[in-house]
Subunit: 281 residues, 2 copies
């Protein structure tokens, strides 16, 4: 089996490394809009061969993984699918799924497409940040699986299992709403905290001295790539506005409780929030 | 030198363990309102002897560390100081400093008191969570140091150095404003995120499946103790309301940019926030 990786960043690069760790003799070719990324990916052994065009990356392989920003996926995915022969499969790893699935609605090759999302990542990006263990024990979400040929879904499930991942199935619209709450919202929160503190503190030294591990944990996601995250927020606008509205209500409620020194109210607020312990270790 | 630890939780317990790791033959006695904590602290070797009363814990030692919730410090600190002989020293480790320093303003033994705050912690609490390395390479803030006898400040600085901590000096009011931004605010943010997601998601299974490491990092502080944090927020009300107002403005600005699909505005928002990378590794 020949594999192409389109987009050689953290996700595409780590997926290639994870595959190579488990499959001996596998040849992976790759393409990236950023030619420096291609050079780095070759040097790091993420890919064995580079493709000079996106089209070449599609034509050369049986399975094509697409791990580029979601707006670029949406823009290019239909033309990519147009090129497929009957046995080829395209799998996208975008962080939002609804608009990508909408673009392919009614496409003659739709059954050769899997809308997937590996729930894994770090605040870093590019092939330099890629590592083979990123997906260990993580979840691969597969959306609208009834639109894909069963044998492809089953083969992909087996590949995920080989990589140590479990597979979870849901509709693309459910995916986007859930991810707005448990992933995308966290990113806005971190960026908002970072901006608040940067605007307040006049000297960097003060922050360095006083910021503990709690701040570092909460603000970590603010190191994420704006180029990657702007399209994610844009493509998941409705769910994000809903999640942000709920979140702003929560923080505003806390501020009001504190303003009137409602000690019992504050303690109840915190106790309810602390129930997350039952769910996350 | 004899040392007493009043409050045998994460901070008091870890400080005792850190001291014992470096000083052979040191005897530490301790007191806690929670008698189970005292038993655990004895079993874990945090303390060597228990004191049956708070008064006994003061009378028996040269240096007395106070690591109980900030409202309890504020309530008891003056009476504790009243008992001191001329060579004794009290050091408090509360997370807010202004109201505690105000209570001791004009106290005849004020020069035998150090208002300190070790910038270290985890989301866990109690003596079971204590560990000797908690303070390694961390910062000890000392507030209003001009109110304390110089020789005590110098001796305490040496002890912190021995424990691998650097010392930073500032006014108690600056401390509280800065900590509102780089510590207390992060906690409200995490509790608010937790509540938002818990209210949205109907089944716990969904959260478990979809929550990645980003969510876990941002929500981590929501596991913190409401009993400890309610008084911190209450004692730092003014700075917290100011910080919360700025923060809510930031998140609301983002929501508005997204609502009108201002792609450039969103990217600028994120780029500014990402500048935290220059400050935190």
């Amino acid at each position: 089996m020949k594999i192409s990786i389109i987009g050689l960043g953290l996700i595409g690069g780590s997926y290639a490394l994870a595959l190579k760790k488990r499959l001996e003799g596998l040849t992976i070719c790759g393409w990236d809009l950023n030619k420096e990324h291609v050079v780095q990916a070759l040097e790091k052994g993420i890919i064995d061969e580079q493709c000079s065009t996106l089209e070449e990356a599609i034509d050369r392989s049986d399975w094509i993984f697409v791990a580029i920003p979601v707006d670029a996926i949406e823009k290019n995915i239909a033309a990519m699918m147009d090129r497929l022969t009957d046995e080829q499969l395209v799998i996208d790893f975008g962080s939002t799924k609804s608009t990508i699935c909408e673009v392919l609605q009614g496409h003659p090759k739709r059954a050769q497409f899997i809308a997937a999302h590996p729930i894994a990542g770090t605040e870093y990006s590019g092939p330099g940040a890629a590592f083979a263990e990123l997906f260990d024990d993580k979840v691969m979400i597969v959306c609208d699986q009834e639109m894909t040929e069963k044998r492809f879904i089953e083969r992909f499930r087996k590949q995920c299992k080989m990589l140590g991942m479990s597979t979870s199935y849901m509709s693309s619209s459910d995916h986007d709403v859930h991810l707005a709450y448990v992933s995308h919202l966290s990113h806005v929160i971190s960026f908002g905290l970072s901006r608040t503190v940067l605007e307040k503190e006049e000297s960097e030294r003060d922050i360095l001295d006083l910021a503990g591990s709690g701040f570092e944990s909460t603000v970590r996601l603010a190191k994420s790539s704006p180029e990657m995250w702007t399209p994610i927020f844009m493509k998941n606008k409705n769910a994000m506005v809903e999640a942000l509205t709920s979140y702003i209500e929560q923080v505003t409620t806390f501020k009001e409780l504190l303003s009137v020194e409602d000690e019992k109210g504050i303690q109840e607020f915190l106790k309810k929030g602390r129930e997350i312990r039952k769910i996350l270790e």
